[in-house]
Assembly symmetry: C2
Homo-oligomer: 610 residues x 2
């Protein structure tokens, strides 16, 4: 049966960003590596080479790629995984009606047309990037991310701007595959790369690399569809999302996820507890370890790259939340708290954590240890419940590491500015420098509708302090499900926060883009300014609102000040004028005298005010 | 002639914000003081009193006030000024065709219908709030702002949350009129209050008070009209702008400003140089001290409350900008640089600074010493040009203080996060703790179209560090003239930044609003959550996009998670359940044992996973 005949296929946004083309840099150690980057061409008058940018958008922005949503993306890592000789294919778990919330007929999202036999580790082997790193192996994934992080720059060849305060991070001038291996081996970075998601382009999350961002998508019981979610994923990575979490909670969770994973070039994260809860009809107390375990395997076989697991919500921490202003605001946290309290027993996630590790180890699913007790308001920030859970996350990190599993740690939430750094410091210390992955934090509670901004402030700061990945917050936070436009605004806001953090940390490649854009601005190369910006479409359309003509794209002013008042234009006039007599000579004379170039009394020009 | 008959009068937005009413708190020392505040009523089920908020919106949000744009606002400070006995009325300067750029006929914006005879200090007296403060006088303006800053709370009666890091600021638990006087006398705070703007409701700018924000409006040679600008002013203060700068640069500057000042309850700032340049046809080198001086008097008579004066752009600093990526980006700075270079002589603003002080002192126009050499790109941040100018601003501050003039200092600009604090520290030290008034700073250059966010990050941080007033940046920055919607987005973003700063500084009144909103959120009082937010309209409409029915306004979930997954709902279930057997008792037991409430082996419930 042809699926496409019964249902329209998802339409996704394709095509390059303005003035951009996809380039690929090849590997040296591993010949079949082709690392994608985006090259932005500048106007010939600039006399500058193209600017190379990190590119998370996958084949969708490559005009030479054939996009076929029902076929999925090319399985570029398939051979890398196969040749390691430590995996086996097997029949895999049977998809059950409960996996899709018993949706049927027209309400059932169709299965993805291609079914791949899943892989798993053979003979209890560890197939994680951490295991390889510890064994001294530089995998293709490691070389891939090394090339990716360098943004096309060669080692020590360019004059690097190393101006920043990194709070103890150790970002190298140039990232080598061996550096990547060491960081992963030390647990300071992860490459989320499930062996059943060979379509993914490897990326790294760690304090000594570029700050990454995650975008959440997912339908809810109330709204949204598969078609929308696939497009949201493509849309989110178009604007720069480095990973995507599918937080779907309604019916059809399994099938929607399959469509997303098969078409995603970025790692996909989930909260398996959401699906598990659907399977028991939303009754938290009916959750069981077996059902949860089965859900982990279901998702691991599909290729989910990281699992949020709220194993730090322990029974005896729950009373610590009783006097909070906003109680428990993590969905996973509240579900587990309810389970624990109902059964009067310890969380099954905590008790079975070692078994969870064994599953993750067999597929290389990374842990994102969830902060189920994160504060949901300024009043609850940095409280006993939050930090008690963090201590447990530190303990679980050691257990996961002992089993060769990759780990990152989730962080808050709502935190006023003066309490942000304490979060970072405590996380680094408690969790052995495992990467921190934070939601915001929101720096005030009073702006629903603008929480991308309240949280963008906190995200930039905590990114500077050392957070490796920032989970975006959209304008709809607290209010509703983000639509396509909210996703874009959330992603752009978080790209700003991540880049501001890279700049402040002194990342050697960060300021290149700012400088290129600022030179374009100063030289009135409007098109270059648009093309180098995070959102060329919006920049251009805002400019064109008042000055739409083509001629205005080369105008030496904008509608903000008009021609007579444009400071940059005046600066140019001034520079030109000064050059007539040599500004440097003038400068020397000024500096010498430390005072005026020409005393007032010497001037022959009449000054009416004198 | 009835102006209204020949031209439609400006329509401005009036009416209260949702669930809000205007209240007035009366003075104790000065009987005719009535300080406006906004009281937000909460749902009866909350059992909470109304929340009192700072209210910059003036009579426009008061249904009992009669708004008549062609009559202007009531002159509430008129009597206060008159009874001091140190001012005189006089004919005032004649309005010249050049004041309006020689606009005539239909292109001429009509004169404001009412002409008030201007006031000035009699017999060379100092009529500034600084002079009164130094003389030990508590003016009605000082008592007004003291009441205003307390937001209705009584001294030491309430349990105050004093949780913050203020970097040496000294915010009192309760603001007294005497404290205000001391802060002004010390130069640490200003009340911009031109005696010819008696319509203004006094407000204070200083590190030991609530962080304020400014919104820029103004037409340009390319676009916009008087009607739009008056409405922009009303619109900006509706959402919380504490002062408004009129940066108009086209024709009709004089007349547009008169309409704005007469209808503005907030202080109005200008850059007099812009109008002066219009008067010489945009030729910077044709500027003269006399023409500039005349413009200052013109604007002082109209009631402009603070002047941005770029007197720190000295001739011998200009060469320091020559190797910058973006040269000089301040309009005022570039105009003065051009003048200096052309004439090969020192800035007339610098040379005549004492005379400028004498004008300001006669009307109580506050100084906003402009940062004409502020960095316009990340590359130029904190450079020699910027800090050379800052040193001069410190020198000018002393001169202004010696003449009883109120002073604040303008700051950058584009600054990466790690260089922000240095700006604040240097400013405090160099300028004797005069209030800092910063534009952003923008923390990256790469996001035109989103510079309210790139700068909101920097604004929140520098506000925390001690900046007294934040000048907003709209999404149109670098691209075009902000429209009504951009103004709102800019104001809300900066209210977020200012409030986040107040929270982090530990302002005793700040967290009240966060807590009230978070309690509303936790208790699913949706209407209260909307009404307490910075932008109730946007919060409500985002919620209603997916859940529009009235019933959903009391629903215990939103479309984000749906009913089954709402963590707050689960938290409530959990709390209710726990209370059956006394959560406190459970908590005690947990803490005692430090471990499980009930060992796994004791439970009689079958656990399938065991």
């Amino acid at each position: 049966m042809n699926i496409a005949a019964t249902r329209p296929m998802p339409q996704v946004t394709t095509g390059p960003l303005p003035a951009s083309r996809k380039i690929h840099i090849e590997g040296e150690q591993h010949g079949d590596i082709r690392v994608p980057m985006r090259e932005v061409a500048l106007h010939p008058t600039s006399g500058e080479p193209p600017v190379v940018l990190y590119d998370a958008s996958g084949p969708y922005t490559d005009p030479s790629a054939t996009i076929d949503i029902k076929a999925g993306l090319p399985r570029l890592r398939e051979r890398w995984i196969a040749v390691r000789g430590d995996v086996e294919t097997y029949a895999g778990r049977h998809v059950l009606p409960a996996d899709n919330g018993f949706a049927s007929g027209e309400r059932l999202v169709p299965e993805f047309p291609v079914r791949n036999t899943p892989w798993r580790a053979s003979n209890g082997k560890a197939v994680t990037q951490l295991a390889y790193a510890r064994a001294g192996i530089i995998t293709p994934e490691m070389e891939f991310v090394a090339i990716r992080e360098n943004l096309g720059r060669k080692a020590a060849k360019e004059a690097l701007i190393r101006d920043g305060e990194s709070f103890g991070a150790a970002i190298p001038d140039h990232v080598t595959p061996e550096f990547v291996r060491q960081e992963i081996a030390a647990g300071r970075a992860i490459i989320p790369a499930n062996i059943n998601h060979p379509e993914s382009e490897p990326m790294i999350i760690g304090r000594n690399f570029l700050v990454k961002i995650n975008a959440n998508i997912g339908n809810s019981a109330v709204t949204s569809s598969m078609e929308e979610e696939v497009e949201k994923m493509v849309w989110a990575i178009r604007w720069g999302a480095d990973t995507v979490m599918d937080l779907s909670t309604g019916r059809n969770i399994h099938n929607i996820r399959e469509w997303i994973v098969r078409n995603s070039p970025v790692p996909i994260g989930t909260v398996p507890l959401y699906q598990a809860l659907e399977k028991v009809g939303g009754i938290a107390e009916d959750l069981t370890w077996e059902l949860y375990r089965d859900t982990l395997i279901e998702q691991a076989e599909q290729g989910v790259d990281y699992f949020t697991i709220h194993a730090g919500v322990r029974l005896h921490y729950i009373p610590l939340t009783v006097n909070r202003v906003t109680g428990i605001v993590s969905r996973g946290g509240s579900i587990m708290a309810k389970w624990c309290l109902h059964h009067h027993r310890e969380s099954f996630l905590y008790e079975h954590f070692e078994e969870i590790c064994d599953i993750c180890r067999a597929y290389d699913v990374s842990f994102s240890l969830g902060d189920g007790l994160r504060p949901g308001s300024i009043a609850d920030a940095n409280d006993a419940a939050q930090f008690a859970e963090l201590a447990t996350l530190g303990e679980l990190t050691q257990i996961a590491w002992a089993r060769d599993c990759q780990v990152m740690i989730e962080g808050p939430g709502h935190v006023p500015m003066h309490k942000i750094k304490e979060n970072m410091d405590k996380q680094l210390k408690t969790c052995g420098e495992a990467p921190f992955y934070t939601l915001g934090p929101l720096t005030t509670d009073i702006a629903p509708g603008y929480d991308h901004i309240t949280s963008g402030i906190g995200a930039a700061m905590i990114g500077w302090f050392g957070t490796a990945m920032l989970c975006y917050v959209t304008p709809k936070e607290h209010l509703g499900l983000p639509d396509r436009n909210d996703v874009k605004v959330g992603v752009i806001t978080y790209k700003i926060a991540a880049h501001a953090a890279d700049l402040a940390k002194g990342h050697p490649a960060a300021q290149v883009r700012d400088d290129a854009l600022s030179r374009a601005r100063f030289e009135f190369r409007w098109e270059d300014q648009f093309n180098l910006s995070l959102d060329p479409d919006t920049a251009r359309s805002m400019h064109d609102e008042t000055l739409p003509k083509e001629a205005h794209k080369v105008a030496h002013f904008c509608s903000m000040c008009g021609p007579k008042f444009c400071s940059m234009r005046i600066s140019h006039d001034l520079r030109a004028e000064a050059q007539k007599e040599g500004l440097e000579a003038m400068a020397a004379k000024y500096r010498q005298g430390g005072d005026l170039y020409m005393p007032v009394s010497d001037t022959t020009e009449a000054q009416p005010g004198e």
